[in-house]
Structure formats: structure tokens, C-alpha cells
């Protein structure tokens, strides 16, 4: 224990010495995270010759700080212009963008930064302290359990649909239908591809994401002068709003903690990712909120939940990588390649043979979040200017960026057309009262649910009772049932109480 503490202290101060790597990397991460289609993973690939040329410590610090800051960066355009930079930020605009439209973009950014930094830092420390236990989570979360986790996220469709159940469910099922396009996960039989080779691997997420949210939003805002509502008071950016946002987030410290832990728990499961975590955290946050009706209208807790959770995933994905040698996500997989190049052997022996490398990754993450907190928070004052840019300039910019973003991940022209097609679908949906978020949840989580479901059935030779075959799975089923029933119960109790209060 004493030896570990010494190593941790030593590694912490060593990492601080790399501030000159961390600070510029944070800004690079914010940019690549904010541009749809770019991510920490493909940036590390592009910069791989540079990364491989660095010494091991510098390489670790660079990759980890890029990973953290890109995750945070993805939330910025999601809040300001309704463009989630990655699927992990897809739940961020649900409440972030309404805040921006209400003239509270600066507060929203501030809330997002505080929730991300604290959520990320906290889960890093928890991961560091409980690594051997957390590494076991993947041993219990198999396909059956993941089906239930997916259903937590998908049940958000019903919550979103609360105002108009029929339209909400139609939108959700439409999304699930789009999500089922592509080859099936077992026998690779193409379904619904309409002959397009580009759809064999399913509908690519980024074009769907940017199309449904951003392109359709560009079509909408072009009808207005600026993004913020006309009844919202346009204000000159000031420090007071930044502080107000930070205080709003800090007052909800408990909310940050438990939603970031959801992210951590999902992040340690190999193959699960930030998109699942952010929707599940949002759904849970709404379920146990005293004011669920405020979600979707610019409620701070609806912004805190996905941002804390997706940064919790960041530290979570490192756990199976370091302890088991299994990368928890795409970026962790690329880190594995780079570090193996430097002769690092992952797995159980890592902390015995090269403890400074193992602890160094977590310390790099902790220090990155600390430095981000200090460097990024003040920027919210300037970033929020975006919402006051006349839409005549902003809308074309959004469309250009999103089309490029749609193109980048696979470099197919087809994906740009697909983004536009989704933009039209999103525009029609908005104009006719169908919620685009419900469509998107189906598109993102549908294929994952189907994958786990088919794998579970394949493992059991088609026996559907496999869904209730594990103890943990059954506990999760009960939790899911409770989270669906409790809001109805809470609502009933609230209505009864308000009915009991005599009218004045």
C-alpha cells in the first residue's frame, strides 16, 4: 500500500511536468471532439507517426489528454448548435440546446464543463482505487445483462413520447427500423440495404446523428435571425453567467457523482460505450427526478447526466485495457496498439512489471481533467457567442461542417447524401411534431440491442428464457421494471397531493 502510494505520488508529479503537452492537446481535443466525424480515435490514428515517435510517457499523456478533451469537446456544438460531435454526446442536446436557445448557452457550457471534469476526475479516482473489482464487472455483464441495460436506454423513448405517446412511439420504432438496416450479426445476411453496399454495416451513426440533429436544425434556424429565441434576452457574455453555471452544477454534486458512476460501470464493460451510458444516465436521471416534466426543456440535470456519464466512460474503458488487456472501446484499442509498439504488455502482470505505466494512464487522465477545469471553464464566455451569430451565416456553416463530418469517418460520398437525407427526415419530423431524439435513440441503441439479443438467443439455441437465466440479469430486470413503474407512481402521488391542496 505504502509502495503504491509512493508510486502514485511520484507519477502524479511526473505527469504534472507534462503540462506543456497536456495544454495544447486539450485544445486539439476540443476541436476534434467538436467536429462531427472526428474523434480521439481517428486523430490518434492520423497522428500515429508522431505518437509512435514520442517516448512512452509523452505518448501516454498525449493520447489520454486527447481522449478526455475530445469527449468534452463533443458536448460544445451539441449545446450551442445542436450538433453532437459523437454518438456519446447524442443525449447532450436534449437539454443543452434548449438552454442555449433560451439565451443560457454560457451557463449550459459551464454546467457541461463542470459536470464533465468532476465526473471524469471522480471516476478516474474511483477506477484507480477499485480497479481489481471494476475489472470483474465485465465478467458478469454478458449479452443477457446488456440487453436489459439497452432497454434502460431505449425506454427513454417512452419518456420522450410522454407528451404525445403515439407520435413518440412511431418515431422510436421508425428509429429502431432504421437501426436494423444492414447485415445481421450472426449470419451476415443483408437486410433493408436497398442494394447499397454502403449500408451493409448498418446505417453509419455520424451521418444519422448530424443529419437528424444538425442539418434539420440548420433548416429550422434559417427561418430565424439568431439561434436564441426572440423572447430570450440577448446578453453580452460575462463572467457572472459562467460562475452561475458552475454553481448550478456544483449544487447538484450528488447528481454528478451517481450519473458519472453509471458511465464508469458501463465503460468497464468491453464493447459498451458512451452512447449507451449517456442515454441510460439521462433516463435514470429523469426517472428519479422530482421534476421529470422539466427534462427536455433546458433542465440542468438533463445536461449534467449525459455529460458526467460519458466522461465516466472515458476512465472506465481504461480498466479492462490495463487489467485484462482488453480495450473497452475504439480509442482504448488504438492506445493498445501504440503502447504495444513501445513494448508495454497489458494484462494482469502490467502492474507488477510496469506499475508506472498502469498508474500513469490514470494519473494522466486525472491531471488532464484538473487542467481542463482551469483552462476550459473560462472559455465558455467566448464560445457562447456562437448563438448570437446571424443564422444567415451560421446555417450554411453548420451544413458544411456536418456534411464534412458525415464524410470523414468512412470517406464515402454516400454518407454526405445520407446526412442530407436524415436532415430532411429530421426537418419533417420536427415540423410535424415527431421527436428526432426518439428516432435517434432507435438508430443508436437499436442495433446494439439486436446484437446482444441475437447473441443471447444463439448461445441458448433459441430459448427465449435465456433472458431470465442469470441472477444479475434478473436483478436488472427488476430495476428496469421499477424505473418504468416508479415515474407513473410518483406522478400519481404528485397529482393526488396537488388535488388535496385546496384551491385558493
Amino acid at each position: 500500500m505504502g509502495e503504491t502510494a509512493t508510486i502514485l505520488t511520484e507519477v502524479f508529479f511526473q505527469t504534472l511536468n507534462y503540462w506543456w503537452v497536456i495544454v495544447p492537446t486539450i485544445f486539439l481535443g476540443l476541436i476534434v471532439g467538436g467536429i462531427p466525424g472526428f474523434s480521439a480515435a481517428n486523430t490518434i490514428i492520423i497522428l500515429m507517426p508522431l505518437t509512435l515517435a514520442m517516448d512512452l510517457e509523452t505518448g501516454i499523456v498525449f493520447m489520454v489528454s486527447l481522449y478526455c478533451s475530445a469527449r468534452m469537446g463533443a458536448g460544445i456544438p451539441a449545446i450551442l448548435v445542436n450538433i453532437p460531435g459523437t454518438a456519446g454526446a447524442a443525449a447532450t442536446p436534449l437539454d443543452g440546446y434548449p438552454m442555449a436557445k433560451a439565451g443560457k448557452g454560457q451557463q449550459a457550457l459551464s454546467i457541461s464543463f463542470v459536470a464533465s471534469c468532476i465526473g471524469g476526475l471522480l471516476t478516474t479516482l474511483i477506477a484507480l482505487a477499485t480497479m481489481p473489482i471494476l475489472a470483474r464487472v465485465g465478467f458478469y455483464m454478458h449479452s443477457v445483462e446488456m440487453i436489459v441495460v439497452m432497454l434502460f436506454g431505449i425506454s427513454l423513448i417512452a419518456s420522450i413520447a410522454a407528451q404525445d405517446m403515439l407520435k413518440g412511439l412511431i418515431a422510436g420504432f421508425f428509429g429502431l427500423m432504421i437501426g436494423s438496416i444492414g447485415t445481421d450479426v450472426v449470419y451476415a445476411t443483408p437486410r433493408g440495404t436497398m442494394g447499397f453496399l454502403e449500408l451493409y454495416d448498418g446505417v453509419p451513426l455520424i451521418p444519422a446523428l448530424v443529419g437528424l440533429f444538425a442539418v434539420s436544425e440548420a433548416f429550422i434556424i434559417i427561418e430565424k435571425r439568431v439561434i436564441i429565441s426572440e423572447d430570450a434576452e440577448p446578453k453580452h457574455p460575462n463572467w457572472q453567467d459562467t460562475i452561475e453555471g458552475a454553481v448550478t452544477a456544483l449544487k447538484r454534486w450528488w447528481h454528478i457523482i451517481w450519473t458519472s458512476i453509471i458511465g464508469l460501470a458501463i465503460g468497464v464493460v468491453p464493447g459498451a460505450g458512451a452512447s449507451i451510458a449517456s442515454f441510460v444516465a439521462y433516463q435514470q436521471s429523469r426517472t428519479y427526478s422530482k421534476t421529470p416534466e422539466r427534462y427536455g426543456t433546458g433542465h440542468p440535470e438533463g445536461l449534467i447526466a449525459p455529460e458526467s456519464a460519458n466522461n465516466g466512460v472515458t476512465s472506465g474503458t481504461l480498466v479492462p485495457l490495463l487489467v485484462l488487456g482488453i480495450p473497452g472501446g475504439a480509442t482504448a484499442a488504438i492506445m493498445l496498439v501504440v503502447m504495444q509498439f513501445h513494448g508495454v504488455s497489458f494484462g494482469p502482470a502490467l502492474f507488477e512489471n510496469q506499475p508506472k505505466v498502469g498508474y500513469g494512464m490514470f494519473m494522466a487522465m486525472a491531471v488532464s481533467y484538473l487542467i481542463m477545469f482551469l483552462t476550459i471553464l473560462p472559455l465558455s464566455r467566448y464560445m457562447s457567442h456562437v448563438t448570437t451569430i446571424p443564422t444567415i451565416y451560421l446555417a450554411p456553416l453548420i451544413i458544411s461542417f456536418t456534411l464534412v463530418g458525415g464524410f470523414v469517418p468512412r470517406e464515402y460520398m454516400f454518407d454526405m447524401y445520407l446526412a442530407l437525407a436524415f436532415g430532411v427526415i429530421g426537418y419533417i419530423a420536427r415540423r410535424t411534431g415527431y421527436h428526432v431524439a426518439a428516432i435517434l435513440i432507435g438508430v443508436i441503441l437499436g442495433p446494439l440491442l439486436e446484437r446482444y439479443f441475437l447473441l443471447a438467443l444463439k448461445k441458448s439455441d433459441g430459448d427465449v428464457f435465456v433472458l431470465f437465466s442469470s441472477t444479475l440479469g434478473n436483478i436488472l430486470w427488476v430495476a428496469l421494471f421499477m424505473s418504468l413503474i416508479l415515474p407513473v407512481f410518483f406522478n400519481w402521488r404528485r397529482n393526488r397531493r396537488s388535488a388535496e391542496v385546496p384551491a385558493e
Partner: protein, 331 residues
Amino acid sequence: MKRLDRRNFLKTTAAAGGMALAAPGIARAAGYPERNINVIIPTREGGGADRNFRAFTSIWKEKLGAEFEPGFFPGASGRVGYEVYMGKNEPDAYSLIFGNMGPEVLNWAMQPPESFDVADYIYFGRVDTDPGCLFVGAESKLQTLDDIIAAGKERKLNVGTSRMAHPASIGLLSLGEVTGAQFNLIPLSGGKNTVAGAVTGEVDFSVLTSGSVIAAGDAVKTLLVFGENRVGEALDNAPSMNDVYGTDLPEMLSSRAFGIHKKAVDDHPDRFEVLTRTFKESFDDPALLEAYVAQKGTPEYLNYGGVEECEAFKQAMLELGAKYKPLLTGA
């Protein structure tokens, strides 16, 4: 200076024309390649194929005298890349494909596309051979091959595989045939998930190409190789299936190779000769091994193969694919 009169002019042009007509191939091949070679890679940038490609072409380009320009077309287990290559690239020997022969030929055998036939392209240059293997998680209850066979006779074991149509899957099905053990293949979508499946207990054990298994280190233990174990301890000195069971199963390989349109070979034999010759010369250059190792390749797996070796392997995969198609497609 000799004056160029009409007689001399006619003699000279006739001779030049005659030479050009007599040896057009030589004349054209001497100019080949006149521009860069496009290479379709049917997997993602940054992956194993990309690294392998960069290592090999860093040497080959010197021999050939032209740069190689990769284009990445991932999707549908390689099918997108092949459809793009066969459908949108001119068969002029200026475009090649760099594929993984084992899984991609099997993929064709499972679902032959209407747009091209597997005989419409040939592989001519094999870069490496990475055999499939069977491995368990470090904490698995099944720690020996005997454990697996005994358990497989009592109940159907769930076995992770990267995808159904994969050489390692065929290796496993052959093992089931030989031993009478029952296996249920579970496609876990990629090497990373296949390793994770075995380690975390999602499946009883997994089969995969050995390069990915070696990279997983102590988290896994290899018990059997569907081919020759060329790396010994790195694969826990696991024996070959043919040695253990006396079978004559061809090596179940992930084997990356350059391919070319058959039409390009027929129309431009001279260009094809330049490609195959310089490809072979690259293998004779000691710098190739250095480049391969620098890109994290396993040196024992660097293994030259020409048209004949590639064709034999392709045919073996097609035969095995046809044999096991009902099990691999659920048909």
C-alpha cells in the same frame, strides 16, 4: 554526319515499327508503371492490414519504381472493398486489392455476390500466414484440450469467433467432427470482442487468428493451433491440430495477399510479370523483415507465396466453405 535521305528514313522507321510490333509487351512493360498503383484495402485504416500494407509497400515501391496509394473500403466483412475493386476499378494493372484471403474467400463462398465471380480476380502475392488457434481465458475452468473435448461431449459449448465465415471457425468445426464434441459458434464481431468473450466468460472459449491472441498476452491461454505453431511459447507451445488428431486439415490462415483483376492479367501479362517479379524481389530484401517487425508484425509469419500458393489456398477455402456452408450460414 550521315545524311537522312528518303531510303534511310524508310529503313529506320520500318525497323523501329517492326521492333515495336514484334515486341509490344516488352516496350510497354518497360514503361510500366508510369503512374502510382492504387490499392483497395477492404478494412479500416489503422488496422493490421494497414500496418502490414505500409510495411510491405515501403520495400516493394523501391523495386517497382512507383508509389502505392491505399484506399480503405471497410464493411460487410470485406465485401464492400471487393465490390468496389471489381466494379469501379479499371482492370489495367494499376489497381490492386490487398485482402485477407482466408476470411474474404470464405465470405464470398457463403454469399456469392451477383456482380462478380471469385475467379474474376486472382491473388498473386502472399505477404504473411497467421494460423487460427483455439484459446481459453486465463480464468476458464477449461484449461486443457482434454477438458474441452470432455465438456463438449456432455453439453454444447459456446465458442466465440470473429465471424461465422472465418478459417478459425472451420478449424473448430473440423475439431468437432474429429472428436465428437459439440460446439456452437457465436460470432462476436471482431478480434477484440472475441478475445474479450473468452476472457470474461461470455463464451466457453474462442477461436481466432493467432496474431490477435498473442497480443492478448497472459489474459488468455492457447490450447490448439489450426496450422503450424511457428512462434512456440508465444502461443503457449500449443500443438497443431493435425499433429494431435492425425488430420490433414489445410492451415486455417488469416493470410494477407495482393490480388489483381483476372482481366488485367490476361490483357497485360507483361505488367503482371513486373508485379510478380518485383513482389518476389521484395521478399529477397532483408529490409522487408525489419519493416515488418517495425510495424509490429510477427516475424515468423512473414511468408512469401506466389500465384500457385495463393490459388491453392483459395481453392481449399472454397471447398471447405462449400462443405461447412450449412453450419456457417444457418441455411
